[in-house]
Each structure stands twice: as C-alpha cells, then as structure tokens.
Amino acid sequence: MSQTLEHLLLKKRSAILKRWLDLIFDTYPADGRSFFASRRNRIANPVGGAIVDGVDKLFDWLMQGEKSDVRDICVFLDNIVRIRAVQEFSASHSIGFVFFLKHAIRETLDSELRKEQLHEDLLTFESKIDSLALLAFDNYSQCREQLHQIRAAEIRNRTSRLLERACQKYGMPSEW
C-alpha cells in the first residue's frame, strides 16, 4: 500500500526531530553541545529547552498545511532565533537551523521517498520550510535592530536626568 508524505512524516516524526535537534546542537562547540542537549531543568538549561520545545512546535506547524496561521508559530520561532541572534553566529548560521529540517527529512526518509516516488510532495513541503526560513530572517533582523535600539537608549538614559536638569535650568527645551 502506498503511503503519503504526510503519513511518513508523522510516522517518523520522532526520528526526524531527533536528527534535526542533533544538527542544531552540532553548531555549538562540543562541551556546549552536550550541555544544551542534556535534559536538565528548563531554568538550568534555557537554551536547550527553547530549542527542544521550538523544533517540536515548528514541525507541528509545518504539518498543519493550509490551515496553519503564521501568528501561531512566531513565538516559538522567536524563542530560538532570539537566542541565536546574540550567540557566536553569523546571520546565516543563526537562521540556517531551519534548513536542517530538509536534511533531517531526506536522510531519515531516504529509501521511502525513493520507493514511493514522493519527490513532488517533498518539494511542496520544502517550500513551506523555505517560508519558515524567511520568517526566521525577518525575526533575526528584528532582534538585531532591537539590540541597536537598546544601545542607543542606554547611552541616552545614562545621563538623561542630568540633561533634563541642565535644560530646565538654562531655559532650554527639555525634549531632545
């Protein structure tokens, strides 16, 4: 009996997610990798926790097909992208983790995909992964923009009262 791609993805869900996680954790140095991958308390291992939770939710969202709403996934995508946006990665390394899912699926389902001739379905599914990567790119840009805003606000706030007082004292406008 022939199987649809959806069936296969659901059947091999845990193997695909495990491979996806391994590929993401492999972007960290060895000691960091084993720590993030450990199943510690989420307060003790917040990076690992966010990534494990995140890939789970991202995969389910991709499986929803036509019904999926972008807003449902933004929080979980942000939980991962926000972390990687301040870690030791270039922009492409930060969001490249999304494409690892393609790798994980092709590797895990290799023989089934060939046997069942599911390449067109796979391409459709992969387009959705590409959309997720674009969302991640927007998200990454927002995070970096926010960091610049924080820097500017910090510099301004450091002496805000001093300037406000000086403006007040010498009759200058207090808004600046």
Partner: protein, 539 residues
C-alpha cells in the same frame, strides 16, 4: 522530475559545525558585541597605572611593553606569595565539573572557556609551566603552556567576560572562588596596561571627584534638588536635603548611578522620602558621593584607594555611623574589605537605630548598615504607615543581586520589605534565586553598550527565569537591589521580556509610604497613576 536529480542531503548541507580543536588550540575570536573597549590613556595616567596608550582590541599589535612576559610572571609570583588563597586555587582543582554548567555565560553561549573550570585553567596552565616542577617536566601533557601573545589575548577576552558573580563557587566542593581567580587575572593584565574603559574611567573619575561620572559637588546638589522638586510635585511635601551636614548622626552613601539614570532615580527619591518622614538626623556627602567601587574590578590596591573616602568623610563630618543604599558590589566592598583595608573605624559608634533602638550587632565592626536592614527593622517595629494597595498595579518578582546575596547573605531583609509594600509578590524558581541567583550579565564593569551581545547571552538565564514568572503569574515588575542591575536588567528585559519593567525596593516603599501632611496622592514616583484611579476619574 526524478527524485534522483534532487541534491543529496550531503550536497545541500552547508557545514555549520565548529572545528573540533582542543581548547588550547582554539584562538579567541574578538567579535564586535562580545568585548569591551580598552581603557583610555588619559584615565590610566590619572591613576598612575602602567603603559598608558591608545590601542585597539582587534588590532594585532596591542602595544605592550617589550618585557611584558617578565612583568606578568613576576606579578604572578608576587601574588602567589601574597595570597595563600590564590596559590590554593591554582593547585587544588580536581576538575570534577561541578562548576562547569553553573556560569551564566556558559549557559547562554555554550562556549567551553566560559566554564569556570576552564576560565581558571587559563591561568593554571601558565602557573604549571612556570611555577610547578611537575608541570615543567611533563609539559603539555600536564596541561601546562607558555605565556604567549595569543594566551594573553585569551586572558583579556575571558577575564573581562566574567562578572565575578561567584555562582560557580557555591557549587565547588573545594570552595574555589573563581571570582578571585578573575580578580588576580585582571590585576596581572593591568600590569601591562590591559584594562577596559568601562572600569577604568569610573575609577579615574571616582579618584578625582568621588563619583563614577565625575560630577562636581554643585552638580550633585543640583541633581538631588531636582529630585526634591519631583517629590514635591507628587506628594506636596518638600523633603529635607541635608548635604555635608557636620555633626549629623548618620552618613548616607549610595551608588551614584541612582542619581542620574532612570529607573535608579526613583529609588533615590524613595530614600529622600523615607528619611524625611522619619525625621532622621542624617546627611548626604558630596565627597563620599559614590557607594560603588570599580576598584573591585581593577585591583586590591584600587579598592582601598577608592574606599578610603567613606571613613574619611564619616570622620570629617563627625557622624556616629553609616547607612548604605541599595547596592550590589558596593556591599561586598563595605562588608568584606572596608574595615580590613581602611579601618579600624574606632571613631564611629556601634550602629543603633534612633527610631527603634535596635542595635545592628552584625555591623559592630564596619559601623555601616545596609538600608534594607534599617528599613525592615522599621517595618518590623511598626514605625511606618504603609498602603501596599498603591502598588497593586505591579506584580512583582525579586532578583537577588549577586554580591549582597552570595557575598553578604542579605536575602531575607529585601524580601521582608517587599512583602510589606506590595500585595502581589512572586518568587522565581528556586535554582535561580538567593545564593543560586543568576547574574544580570553586566556586573564587574561589563555593563557597557559595546559588549551588548555578550550581556544578552550571559543575562539570558536570569531573563528566562523572569519570563517563567511573567508567563505563570503575569509578573510585570522586576525588583533588584543594585544600581548596576537597575541599568543592565532594563536592557536585558527590553530584549528578552519587554513587558517587564525594572525598579528598586525603596521606590515601591516610597509609593506605599503614607507621609505626614501629604496631599491626596494619585501618582507613583514615575508620575504614573496608581492602579484603578484613572478609571475612577473617568466615571
């Protein structure tokens, strides 16, 4: 289309895996956002510190003295002889790994050199090579290595990537205090002119004018008067502002960060209101105008130099004892170093609260009491009229600042005050508070804006715990007892939990404080309406 024509997994894979080299062979990457700018030559000159020059962290040439290795190894030897603890910390680590996953920078970044054991190993490897016979004989096999320029650059990068928060030391079965290893590491770097400006400029300013921003006395008085005006607008009361008052009973010293930058300013207004309401015989000082002491992040000698003004001013003004404001590292200095370095304070009296008669026996030696000890005693004895419902808009959690919590055990008093001035208080998870507290990621001079990526990494464990109580209990106010925290946590929340604001304990206390003769108060110290009142007016 045939599936065979699609790229194979290995063909589409871009390799993002970092190279698997050992830690000794992995050079540092001075990436923008993860290091602090060097100390300006003018500041080093003010302090008579070695090798003042303009240099850049990303340049190949750091303009070091010709004999820099000799200088550092001589300094190393001197400190091994001078500090028994340092010698012990170099010898006794058994690499059990208990500290490895406790550093907030490691938890946020996964960089192995942020594991406390490896951070200390940066010094230990050079120690073995130069000061241990076995290490010299066995060479690299024993984990020893030459002090080369790449090693020195590694020291600079990672010793200015430790906030000296001491979380790792809580878990070490041998009691190795990695903060002290970092302190010595920084002292050695100082010997050849490797320092960061965010530390050295406040030190230089403090040395010249008494406070971090270098504000002269009339500027300080101006700022305090500004607060007095704001308080009058909010409460209708013009509070007292005693400055440099000779013969006052108490000298009040607090971090100057709270004079100029929001939200610390609101905490500072809180002190003015509390002391006025009590009719306390106290004084501010334009000389001892800084509680903070960035000497702690420079060298032991510098701590002493900057701290000396506190007792000197207490003596000059003829006060009986001292109260310290909400602070972090300041309290470590006052509590653990001040009396040894600049005491004995035999011209002061054992602190006794003039309002309650309580003797602060714990401060018998230093003669200095922390404001939360003072205020919690007032509340305990029913001396303050408080209306916590004024703070009902806030759902509050408390961040234990590293130094008061871990170095001074000040954990109950701030919570006692908070529980009496707010109705909605929620603790973060146990493994992130009290002695297990996570650092803000910006202490020990690292709270500068150029180091922002690193601060966000290091602060993530703290922010994650805040997000936990935000999601569970709708927490919207993060309270802390440290001026550095008030500045750095604000940026941290902006990035990780934008709906959570940061504030101090005495800001909330002053919101709740019912003052004698106040007009009907509608606004909190930030000029925002107390909960519900805005809606009432609309009806």
């Amino acid at each position: 289309m045939e599936l065979d024509k699609l790229p194979k997994p290995e063909e589409m894979q871009i390799d993002l895996t970092p190279p698997e080299s050992g830690w000794m062979d992995t050079p540092v990457n001075m990436r923008d956002g993860t290091y602090s700018y060097p100390a300006a030559a003018k500041n080093l000159k003010i302090l008579d510190m070695p090798n003042p020059r303009e240099w850049s962290v990303t340049a190949d040439d750091w303009k070091l003295p010709q004999n820099w290795q000799e200088i550092i190894l001589e300094g190393f030897k001197e400190r091994l002889e001078k500090y028994r603890s340092f010698k012990l910390f170099m010898d006794i680590c058994v690499r059990c790994g208990a500290c490895a996953d406790k550093c907030h920078f490691f938890i946020g970044s996964g960089d192995p050199k942020n594991m406390p054991v490896l951070r200390a190993e940066l010094l230990r490897s050079v120690y073995r090579k130069n000061f241990s016979t076995l290490g010299r004989m066995l060479g690299r096999f024993s984990g020893s290595r030459e002090l080369t320029l790449p090693v020195l650059k590694e020291w600079f990068y990672y010793f200015f990537q430790c906030t000296e928060c001491r979380r790792c030391s809580v878990y070490c079965p041998y009691g190795i205090d990695t903060a002290e290893v970092t302190m010595i590491g920084r002292e050695l770097l100082n010997l050849v002119g490797l320092n960061i400006n965010w530390v050295i400029e406040p030190v230089a300013n403090c040395f010249r004018t008494g406070n971090h921003l270098g504000i002269p006395p009339h500027g300080l008085i101006d700022m305090w008067e500004f607060m007095v005006d704001d308080i009058e607008d909010i409460t209708g009361i013009k509070v007292d502002l005693p400055v440099n008052k000779k013969g006052a009973e108490i000298l009040f010293v607090t971090p100057s960060g709270d004079y100029f930058a929001d939200p610390g300013t609101y905490t500072c207004m809180g002190y003015l209101m509390l002391f006025h309401e009590l009719g306390l015989d106290y004084t501010w000082s334009t000389y001892a105008s800084e509680g903070g002491n960035f000497g702690l992040f420079t060298s032991h000698e510098m701590i002493k130099r900057l701290n000396a003004k506190i007792y000197a001013e207490a003596k000059r003004l003829g006060v009986k004892w001292i109260i310290g404001g909400e602070c972090g590292h300041m309290w470590r200095v006052m509590h653990q170093y001040m009396e040894t370095m600049n005491g004995p304070a035999d011209f002061l009296e054992e602190p006794v609260s003039p309002i309650t008669g309580t003797k602060f026996e714990n401060s018998k030696q230093t003669k200095m009491v922390h404001i939360t000890e003072f205020t919690s005693d007032l509340i305990r004895n029913g001396k303050l009229k408080l209306d916590p419902s004024r703070n009902d808009r806030f759902r509050v959690t408390y961040h234990d600042s590293c130094n008061p919590a871990r170095a001074a055990g000040l954990m109950e008093e701030p919570r006692y005050v908070l529980r009496n001035v707010v109705n909605n208080f929620f603790e973060m998870p146990e493994n992130s508070i009290r002695e297990h507290t996570y650092c803000c990621g910006g202490g020990a001079g690292l709270g500068n804006d150029e180091n922002l990526d690193m601060r966000m990494r290091g602060g993530f464990p703290r922010a994650n715990a805040v997000r936990h109580v935000r999601d569970k209990h709708d927490v919207n106010r993060l309270i802390c007892m440290c001026a550095i925290d008030r500045a750095t946590l604000t940026a941290l929340m902006h990035y990780w939990a934008p709906d959570v604001e940061v504030g101090g304990i005495h800001e909330l206390l002053a919101n709740a404080l019912i003052m004698e003769g106040e007009h009907e108060r509608k606004l909190d110290l930030r000029g925002e309406p107390f909960s519900g009142e805005e809606e009432d007016e609309d009806v």
